[in-house]
Amino acid sequence: MSLTATDIRNLCLATLVFAVCALLPLGDQGYWLGLGVTIAMFTALATSWALFSGPTHYISLATAAFFGVGTYVTGLGIDTLPFWSLVGLAGVIGAVLAALVGLATLRLSGVYFVIFTLGLAELVRQVITWVQNNSGQKGLYVLTDLDEAGIYWWLLGLSAAVFLAGWLIGRSRLGFALRIIGDDETVAAHSGINTARAKVLLFMVPGAVAAMTGAILAPRYVYIEPSLAFAPILSFQVVIMALLGGASRLWGPVLGVIPFTFLLEAVSSNFPNQTTLVIGVAFLVIVYLLPGGFVGLMGRINRHLNTREGT
């Protein structure tokens, strides 16, 4: 692997940014740390989502399914296994589940995939409920010593891992293959690329990351029940944040996550009786005014400047 000077500069910069972010809990243990947890959570989710959906243009609505599986892994295992192993286990289970889903659906065209992933959260939720119902299980309580700062560092570490994975994939043959698939799947297949295998492999990344995010956040929720763990709104939030930022660049989604988190915060604190309505309007405005996200907007501005210089 050969690194250019730009690569090394980018790596150093990214390390520096994460190091600075890691200092947040030392400055504030309350409100800002709480927002930090939300931002770190959605950064991991949206960035990993865009890793798959950016190049392939498949819109996955399965985030809530993987996330819920992760919270259940922690909920069921917290009394017997150490926390770090549960996070790892959740990642493995998420990846396997994603592979199964991918094998079943990624040969289909986009719209079938969207519908299937949307139904997946409900499917997994019903399976878990069925098991609980038949085993007569009581509510799951996750009582740990892990505090907000601990959860924040776990999520930040996970986000860093997602960025690293995305950067490595982008440089690999797999990343190249996916860009070709995204541009034209027929061409990709004719060039000898195993398109189904490439897509399934990549789909395992958001699956594993979302499950790990759920596993990390379970101690924050304390009580795990299906309707809270598998809330479908999560899948849509991830999509809208990634699109607001722009899914075509590795660093795109985080540009959507940060403003959107602050927007949601401002809306829920100022419009307690119309929160959902105002968020809905915000969705519409984003889709109409920023179709390519902030990344697209920056591209347009750049082009505009370039043409001005050219004249």
């Binding site: 409100y31 019903q126 409920t129 009580y223 709104i233």
Partner: protein, 399 residues
Amino acid sequence: MNRRPFLKLVSALTIASALAASAATAETIRIGAVAPKTGPLAGGATVTQWPSIYLWVEQVNAAGGLTVDGEQMMIELIEYDDQTNPGETIKAVQRLATQDDAHFIIAPYGTGLNLAAAPLFDRYGYPQIAVSAITDQQPELSAQFPNMFFTLGTTTALAADVVKVLTDMRDAGQMGDRVAMVNVADAFGIELATAAKPLFEEAGFELVYETSYPLGTQDLSPVIKGAAAAAPDAFVAWSYPPDTFGLTEQAMIENLDVKAFYTAVATPFPGYGARFGAAAEGVLGAGGVNPDSPAFMEYAAAHEAVTGEKPDYWASATTYASLEILGQAIEAVGLDRAAVTAHLRESTYETILGPISFDENNSNPDFWTVGQWQGGVFKGVASRGRDGTVPVILKDGWE
């Protein structure tokens, strides 16, 4: 150097800060509230939680506020919608604690949302008088979160008292021992069914029909038809709001012939009585109150006058009582949250439900468990330590 502008600035600042200080002494008590206004639990919260909060704030302020250290302080309510999402509940509680600087925060709605908020109430030292959080884990939870108090009872008590009511009916020769038991396949429904099954068997009942249905099932006729085919003496459903209504409707259509018909959550809602009218007569449900007590009648009248809605016959009054408790504790010891929490552990409070005190597990041991629609009113027929239970009547058809 001309000093005048500087002096002017200083005097302006002094006046401004003096004004701010005087505003601070005539301060209000900031009380935060976070509960669903949207999402799956909004239906319950807008019947049970929000109206009682509005009523209490209105009444306290109409009376001139709470007396804190000899001074009357009005209440300023800061409310947030958590969209039935624990992540939003956490954010809202954090915002209330750190940005809005709330003096006290009213406990959220629902078991999951209360527990998601518990670590924050604990960290910032807010007392959390939970109402709609029924669980058997009260000892463990109060050990982990010493500021958390429980008012509405335990899962096992709710299930056990249904078994007890049916046992009494059977022993009085009013019905046989054939029971059909169904549950909604979701957290609380599963917990209740799991707790009830061994209790029914212990009491010598025969479970002639047992099934469950997924949350959100629209067509409940197979459930009622299956139960009817087993010819039970009693029908017990550990149900949630939508299926409580759905099962009752199907039972009417099928004319389910039982001596006792029980549905769980939402049976005490005024909307249940309004929807089924005379057919609701004799239906048993989770919860209850003593609707004939003067305190409850006064509360119900004020509730309707202020919010335009009737309270439910269970958690509404308990929600209001939890606020009465909070108000009395504040008046007794002031705005010091640690002192208020200590006061909650030690004292007995006069509420519309009667006296309430908390035991060593921060639990209120006196609560209603089973009620029944009788003459258009949902009356408590079984309780732990509450006065005013009325005798159970037999379910006599659906007309």
